[in-house]
Symmetry: D3
Subunit: 313 residues, 6 copies
């Protein structure tokens, strides 16, 4: 398959893509035509269907996979495809993975690293809780591996939640080593659970947008509820420990104005909020660097300032 990012002026396109939007329009001479945006995991491209009566046109809707036959052209400095033929595609004609941006790292390898992390948690209750999620709950595991950690900016791809969770957990493990006053088991458990609510906050790829309950409640509230549910199933789980863990989830954004209903009040909550922020911001910068190709300064919304790649010499 030819990915969107590889389409160039003059190419003939004959492949299946995801239809993102579909709108009818009329030329100055009164001729009707269609504006369509198609996409795959590498990007979007505008298309025009000048012959609005051509077969198959009325058979597809946005978020359908469509077979596209057309010509790539530059118009007003932007590439677009003049579509000769378009029709809804059969499931057999495409591979869903081509439409889902994924982590550059191996998700299964990272998940194994998470399981290894879990094996270092010595507190029985916390260990049991982690196993309930990451070992015993097949539905959770599947959703967790497919989920992103954000809509945009950082870890905004399938596997992103695994990658971010592992990054945070590793920072936390290091903190616990460097600062022995930290309760390692509590911090690691909190790190692994801090974003579990995200599996319900975003819809699955290829959409990856806020769900209704994501908008209404957010991953912090949902994560606390999910943890609370599992904890109820673990006999004897100490109430104080449960509350401290929930507190870490509640406060992991660090500040009320970032959507945490409580500020960090115990050292593990403080540490978690730093690990979460550090991993997110450094990964955001890495994604910027991977895209940038110059040492020029660019304004970054995420950093609210100008940033550039490092020369270092």
């Amino acid at each position: 398959m030819r990915y969107v990012k590889d389409i160039k002026d003059g190419y003939t396109v004959q492949d299946v893509y995801l239809c993102k939007t579909k709108n009818s329009a009329t030329t100055k001479n009164g001729k009707e035509y269609l504006n369509v945006i198609i996409a795959d995991k590498t990007g979007n491209i505008d298309c025009k269907i000048w012959n609005a009566d051509s077969a198959g046109i009325s058979d597809f809707e946005p978020m359908d996979y469509v077979f596209v036959n057309g010509e790539a052209k530059t118009f007003n400095g932007n590439l677009q495809i003049d579509i000769r033929q378009i029709r809804k595609a059969d499931a057999s004609e495409y591979n869903v993975e081509d439409f889902i941006p994924t982590s550059k790292k191996d998700v299964e390898e990272m998940y194994d690293a998470i399981l290894k992390c879990i094996s270092t948690v010595e507190n029985n209750y916390l260990h049991a809780l982690l196993e309930e999620f990451f070992v015993n709950d097949a539905e959770f595991i599947k959703a967790f591996k497919l989920s992103s950690a954000a809509k945009s900016i950082h870890h905004n791809f399938a596997g992103g939640l695994v990658e971010h969770t592992l990054g945070v957990a590793r920072l936390c493990a290091f903190y616990a080593k460097q600062y022995p006053a930290i309760n390692k088991d509590l911090l690691l458990t909190a790190a692994l659970c801090h974003d579990i609510g995200k599996i319900y906050e975003y819809s699955p790829f290829p959409e990856n947008d806020y769900t209704d309950e994501g908008n209404l409640l957010g991953h912090i509230v949902m994560g606390i509820e999910m943890a609370g549910e599992k904890i109820k199933g673990i006999p004897g789980f100490p109430k104080d420990l449960a509350n401290e863990l929930k507190h870490c989830i509640a406060s992991h954004h660090g500040k009320l104005e970032f959507g945490s209903p409580k500020k960090p009040g115990i050292i593990e909550a403080v540490a978690l909020s730093y690990a979460d922020d550090t991993d997110a911001k450094i990964q955001s910068f890495i994604q910027y660097i991977e895209d940038a190709e110059t040492y020029d300064w660019n304004f970054s919304r995420a950093f609210d300032g100008s940033i550039r790649m490092t020369k270092g010499e």
Copy 2:
């Protein structure tokens, strides 16, 4: 019983009070003595026990009720009691209500008004949920009636939670009448449930301080969990309705920086946040007016500015 606020210079005090603090000290001439603060629902007063060896002194602790025999005197402009005799009191010697500030309004009457409010909710699921809390859950009802709505400033007395909840519910009922676009049942239910988490956020009177889970999680998170629990017990409770109700609880502080993990996103959540804020602020002002005895301007921390009683003529 002679209430603290009625003790005057020269009075002989012979009654039971609540011991708030107890510290030993030494006079300039090296004599040991005790500083004790005693309280009832009307206020606090400092006491000195000059004879540190007197009987009964070592038998009581802070938060014990104590029988006090002493003399009220003015020292450095403040009233204090020179205690001749002090001892732990028997439960038979005092009435706990004397140590709990209470609403000036009748709690049972207000509770009846809440029940009447509930009877106007037509949606079966919401009505069932409200009955689960306010009719069927005896433990909840008892705690709800005794709880305050805040540590200080407004509704900081037993029955305060009932009074504030009713005040908010009445404002909401009026909003629903004035603005028909509002879903009355959802708004009323949200109004009645918005602060239910407070029964666990503050310890019971006479302490009325943040509990450990109050500090760790807060009444918003706990209220959502409490509602979620009850909802699970109501067969067929619609998921969307449950989420919208939880959203109203989650967002009732109106802004992230006030501890809501979500901003109001539906009209009932907007309305609830206004009702909550309006009732709290106007009640704060009323409590100020009830204490103030002049038309002078006073700086108010709650209003972050100078305020005064209205002359109005």
Copy 3:
């Protein structure tokens, strides 16, 4: 007359509209043409005049009413009108009301409700002041009924000032009933007068934009001056009462950063600022709901967040 919101692709348009803008342009082939935007109370639409020499073209200016004869077409997904003929219209050819968005509610009915409100004010001085404005000052009454309460977002239509003033007054009347500490007469008077300065802050419809003195002084300062003027004409009006009323007007935005030169310092001022904010925000949400046709989340500038219609079940 065919309203702008009812014009569809393919329609022939032959009606009078308000010309909002008029600019000349040149096609790629060097042919001159005109871009014109026409409007009525239901919206705007772009027009092209390809024959720049056609009769009548040079005779009209922006903010003139023009007779338009043309064809509606879709271009690049947007509707536009290809104008065959256009000329300045006679006053006899159109009805100004078609160009002024108006309240869905009956303005006269609402005004009667305001008068009824006034009749409940028992304080002689305040009652006299209200009559000076709302009963005796014909020029004020006419402008008040025609004015909007805002440029956009909420009550941004003729009659909007009446509707908003009545909404605020009703909330205030309810507050006074629920919280007897409030001076009802002062609060009602303040509610009815809080936005009187708006009749000079916005130019009359169809323009409804900030006037020069609106920009220089704003409705708060002008409202205080207007009230002060009338008060001077009422013998014996108590100075303290006048200052408290002016204070309510001055502080009704609630915070300095919202343009109030003073924060609310008496309970009626606090109550008024809540009523004003509550009515404005709930009405903004209602206008959003009336336009929205889905349960999808939309970002709202007014609420600085995502909002949606309530499902409620």
Copy 4:
């Protein structure tokens, strides 16, 4: 008279002072006594009256002038006066000026400079307005000369309003010379009138505290009303000019959060807000330097940071 700042340990005090506060108290041994604070324009000092029965004690109230006969002593590191005798003083026994802090500069000289400023205003209407206030209104002139420009920090002394007004006017005259785009007459008039409302915002010395209308309305609103009143008396005063002048008064705090109901929107308003802020802040620093006697750093509330005198070499 011996000023408060000159009283030293061991001195015998026999003079008239202003009584600021008067409270009764009781010694540890049960003896009643009085705490009194007396003051003059140089400061305050605590006093004790050990013999609570001595003649004259019940005859004076706070804000009375009292004759004091006593001994200055150091107690706990602070100076206090043990009063042997105290009584209300006759108006003939003291000079009110001794109790009013005054500008170090000659108020009449500064006022003459203001009049000279006025003589440079060429616009007839503005010139007439200034004469109405500063030449023709004897009551205004008297109050203006006696008023401070603030309760504390800068120009907080009688004559302070004259000094600050002159300082601002001189900065403005310089701006108009350096930046010819500025309308000199408008800016000078605005500078001279910007704080006229302060004569009603503070009570007269020796109190110098916010008046009731100062708290309710503030000097900006009152200043606009005062200017409006005078303008009405000047036939033909152009409306636009009046509004621009009022706008300068309205916006002279520069930002909404500093209590201006409008931000500066014309160049003279911008210039005035800078002149006002510059003169206030530099004068605050000068008053700090005049008090400080070391090059040590001190935290300054006014500057929200540490400040020190300049060494300069």
Copy 5:
């Protein structure tokens, strides 16, 4: 030469301009063409080169000077040039000054005024330091005269740094006269040096954009380093004086959030920060007035509000 601002619809253009950008594109019919933006000191204009094969097209790059032969036309309401012929220009064909916006005032005259300012500084060390920069360092002097004081909004033209520096110095000289507590020599020196780092913060005209070290360090840090360097070359320069001067440079933005690493802590630093802000804001307003041609209100990003020219009568 015909300046960009003077080009009108229908003109034939035959002159040298600076090429700002150059991009290839394709018409709907598949024909390739070029979009080019050309500029001089008066503005920018879009150009189209329809014949992409014409001679000379591949020989120039952005930031080259090019000879343009074409026709000015209006398209979609904007002027553009249809280029018939274009080629890289010889240095002999244009005058660099035509591409550099310059101060309306004579730079040399203003520089002389700066030198006169310097001659009034009596402190030997400060005088020596100023001469090191403004008299002895030819490279500095040249760069200083050519530099702007900002990328946009105010003094964003060659000579702007001289003009702003002189404006600030004159305000400071006036402050020192009006407030004798100010150390005139220190303040004047600080005024003259406060923005010296700007010669390295912006690239030279015609680019005038942030340099790499401008982005990394900014003019405050670089200015302190530049001053420190020169000071080291002046034997006996007092350490305290050097630190106070550097402090003035460090704190001249007045607040941390504006990029000053320290807030003003001595009176000269306070005064400098006011002078800098006053001159920048008033000059911004003047540049707005010079462009505006109506008394209409316009939203200004620089003032974060609506502004207009003053009528004044």
Copy 6:
């Protein structure tokens, strides 16, 4: 020596302490006495010298070491010492280390770890720069080892700068391992140099207060100047690398409002600012935990909220 924290009611004190303050006072009966505060590295204690004529009293000043002979007593709940005899101590009578709070960790061991860190820096220029400071500059090394990293809250003891620098460097080394996009050499160098300016920002112990240049310039500006100086001595040090390193120092507080003149604009600067903040905040929490002895919640100024020790079970 008996440390201040070990003095108990009834103890006889006969040791050398540091005199922090010394003030004369007078008892109610007119007897003069002295208030003195003495200190060592473990804390402060109030003292009274009732016999103001006793030998030696006039011979010592604040910040002198004094031999104290007295009795510890409790007065008003606070311990104080009634001094019988006091005199200036000989240098031979005390050990300066007893008056300097020091890191609980071995400073030399931590310094060795810093040197080991340096040995991992492969870039020749950066390595040379680090050696210039940490190996070759004896004066710097001595000051660096003795300095604190803050006046209070965290690392506010001798060796604190070493401990904090090492903590930050270790976090940075871990980041570089976890995120390979980071330039390890640049980040490590920046970590080791980020607070070098602190050796001049605080005066040496036992004072540990802001120096004059600390107040005027701060450790960020001074650190950049120190680095710049050393860099000039290293032939061929690349300009870009120098600027990037200085940028890391400049931006290590992460935000302008925290005193950084630039926000982090390269990934190493972002990483450094997180490491600095993380180490400071976690260490602050650790110092809190080490002092706290209960699981009660306490309000923390540093965290602007309530915090407590973790139960963890």
